[in-house]
Subunit: 472 residues, 2 copies
């Protein structure tokens, strides 16, 4: 299914490769304050590249943390829809650096089984996903013979995503007028496989709680008190053991009340996504067994169902040998992944009620649930914007749009803030693969995926121009 967009992309693959090679050499690790100059340099590099691409408006927006890059290219058509691309230019730390086969900030091209791979920190997460829009925009203009894009395209590329986007919601609120849009195109995800064009249609939300159980006023001698007074570590074990029932369901009262049930159609669509469970278990983060909520597949459990995970527990003596104490306190950190239409703000009461129901006499419980959290988000599978996305992906991957699969992202990010503050729906266009080792040593991008992603972006601007978005 040749197209002018593909012809342009194919003729300019080296431009995308060269852009990415230069950008990936900037170690923009936002979690490390020592790298703050590199994060700033990364923003400057991107701003220059956007200007070079032709964006008339390019600005670096400072935050109390790392700077974001904003760009805008208005369509000559005053009634054209407005699309906002979201991505980030910061990257994860590189530890353990000794496990990298090539230095993480010296991009290397490797011939892999599915084609050439570019290895570097940030290769796909998220510099690759952002850089494909540079070539994509040029392809869109060249293919359509336009001086301005068919839709007004804005980009907001933040610099703190890998640090939890601490200033992102404030930035959105402060710049809401400039960011106003009809649809957000999130480019920070990927597809189900190199031959499996797909679109993310949901992300899970997040809430976290810290629980402290207090027993005796001080650590007690277990010879003098052992067997006679409550032990906070016993109480914590009993509490956490009761976090799931025998069906693997979370036992917080009301936890499932607002969960939107998976429709038969959604489950059927998920079942079409190829997923090699054995390979997933044996993958980079090897686990020994699959488990989880009864009645759901692993893909549903990790993407479409809410979960509770204990992330840390501590209390008492943890040094060498033994110390015969009943500790005064026990502590646990728990996070919850939420799905539509759960609300992070509901968790505080649910956690408190659950803890209270499992706290024995003689133990005092303290629950801390920070305000905020991350809302879950989900795309409307039947919206015209989704149809435009599927058409664009279908053209880039030579696939019928009806055969583009839907996937769900189990993680949580600032995407929900975009929905909350800007009030626009999300679609996801990303060129990553589950095997790209994001956040791990030897992160890579499969270059053919990136080229198809650039082409899909070019198609998307054309397709979106015809979408009848409601008035803002």
């Amino acid at each position: 299914m040749s197209s002018p967009e593909r012809a342009f992309v194919t003729a300019h693959l080296e431009d995308l490769h060269a852009d990415l090679d230069a950008w990936l050499r900037i170690p923009s690790i936002s979690a490390d304050p020592a790298h703050a100059p590199s994060v700033a340099a990364s923003a400057e590099w991107l701003a220059d590249a956007l200007r070079r691409t032709g964006f008339p408006t390019v600005e670096i927006w400072p935050t109390p943390g790392a700077p974001a890059v904003f760009a805008e290219w208005r369509s000559a058509d005053p009634d054209a829809p407005v699309a906002l691309v979201y991505g980030h230019h910061d990257v994860q730390p590189v530890d353990p650096v000794e496990l990298w086969e090539h230095p993480p900030f010296e991009p290397a091209v490797i011939d892999g089984p599915d084609g050439p791979e570019l290895h570097a920190r940030g290769a796909i997460d998220d510099k690759g996903n952002v850089a494909m829009h540079l070539l994509g925009m040029r392809a869109h203009l060249a293919a359509t013979g336009r001086d301005t894009p068919a839709v007004t395209v804005k980009l907001l590329i933040e610099g703190e995503e890998e640090s939890g986007s601490p200033h992102f919601a404030d930035l959105l609120r402060a710049r809401a007028d400039r960011l106003a849009c009809d649809v957000v195109v999130v480019s920070d995800t990927g597809m189900a496989g190199p031959d499996v064009p797909s679109a993310v249609v949901a992300m899970r939300g997040l809430a976290d709680a810290e629980i402290t159980l207090r027993g005796p006023a001080v650590d007690l001698h277990s010879g003098s008190f052992g067997g006679g007074v409550p032990n906070p570590l016993h109480a914590m074990a009993t509490l956490l053991a009761a976090l799931h029932d025998e069906q693997g369901r979370v036992t917080l009262p009301g936890f499932y009340d607002r969960v939107r049930p998976l429709s038969d159609r959604e489950r059927a669509l998920m079942a079409r996504v190829p997923f090699d469970e054995a390979a997933w278990l044996a993958g980079p983060a090897a686990s020994r067994a699959a488990t989880g909520e009864a009645g759901f597949s692993t893909l549903e459990r990790i993407g479409a169902r809410p979960t509770a995970e204990v992330n840390g527990v501590w209390g008492g003596y943890t040094g060498p040998g033994h110390k015969t104490i009943i500790p005064a306190e026990a502590h646990a950190k728990v996070t919850f992944r939420l799905v539509a239409d759960q609300r992070p703000a509901d968790l505080a009461e649910q956690v408190r009620a659950w803890v209270a129901a499992h706290t024995p006499e003689g133990i005092e419980a303290h629950v801390h649930v920070p305000a905020g959290g991350v809302s879950p988000c989900a795309s409307d599978l039947d919206s015209p914007a989704m149809a435009a996305l599927l058409a664009a992906i279908g053209q880039a991957f030579d696939t019928d749009p009806a055969d583009v699969l839907f996937t769900r992202e189990g993680g949580s990010g600032p995407e929900a803030d975009l929905v909350d503050v800007l009030g626009a729906p999300l679609v996801f266009l990303g060129a990553g693969l589950p095997t790209d080792r994001i956040h791990s040593p030897n992160e890579r991008v499969l270059l053919p995926m990136l080229y198809r992603g650039a082409e899909a972006a070019a198609h998307l601007w054309r397709e979106l121009a015809a979408v009848p978005f409601p008035a803002r």
Copy 2:
């Protein structure tokens, strides 16, 4: 019930006070290597004091750690029984030192509701309990008009009890010939109250285990894997929650098989011990409720029944904020208090069987149970040696021997090694009180208890001379 022993003790109270005052000024903290010279000085002081008292044989026995003091005063009667006094001359650390009302190594006499108290680290644990034997021996000789004691008296006063007596069993084995005896008099405990003469008749044993549960090969992202693979912290919580059943009984298979049941007589004797549970809960180590094994009193639970306590748990992320991981590992430390006739060596198999029964698919368990442990020990309530002890305590406290109560020590110490290596029965003569704040700031001894203890020791040597011990 006046006696020549009491007359002598009463005439020489100041000697005991002066001895103790001098000895308590030596900060013999065995846990702190910087105090090793003080521990050595403490041994030297005691050796001098024993020589001054008249012991013909006084030796300092080095160990790979702190030195022990050995003394022997043979009876002129070649057929006289041999008694070995056990105690220790090292003391606990003094932290938090700011909570002391008087400097811990500057003994201060305070008028208390039950008489004069001497406040200092080691005042009762264990320098007071050892020093009372200096005056006790002089009183015995003076009261009976003898040049040598009625029984051969040996003392073994170790210097590492507060550090877990790491070299004590080896010392006993190496010096078993010199230490041969018919009965061991343990002077490192106390009585139920200032007006409640009593004798400890059992100590609990100890075994410890460290449990590691491993899940994924590395910490996993809970957004990508949460809800789909086993979480070692969930498995640890479930395991530890199953350590006790709903009756508060330990669930290790076979744990109770060798537990000697409490006889009706033993339970009746324990019930006679005055115990203010509310005061105990509100005491220095305040706890909010009593709990434990169903069907037993608090005194039975903490002294006469075996227990399991989780002393420490750790795993995953324990820093500020949250980190959304499924941790690779979870860890727990558990100790078990044992009663006659449980054997520490049986615990390894019991813990392994228990862990195996509660380890879910996908989790790998590793159990470490160190060899050794501490055996429980118990005195024969009806032995002639016990009758001699009760007679001695009865005389010192103006109480009918039948009214001297029996108590049980919930803790564990090297006393079991004395039984194991020397093959002699134990009796316990100590002048401490539950309110003496041992191991805590403002440790004290009630001086009238110490004077009565010295008198009881004097009576004991006379009473033991008549005991028909079996041939060694």
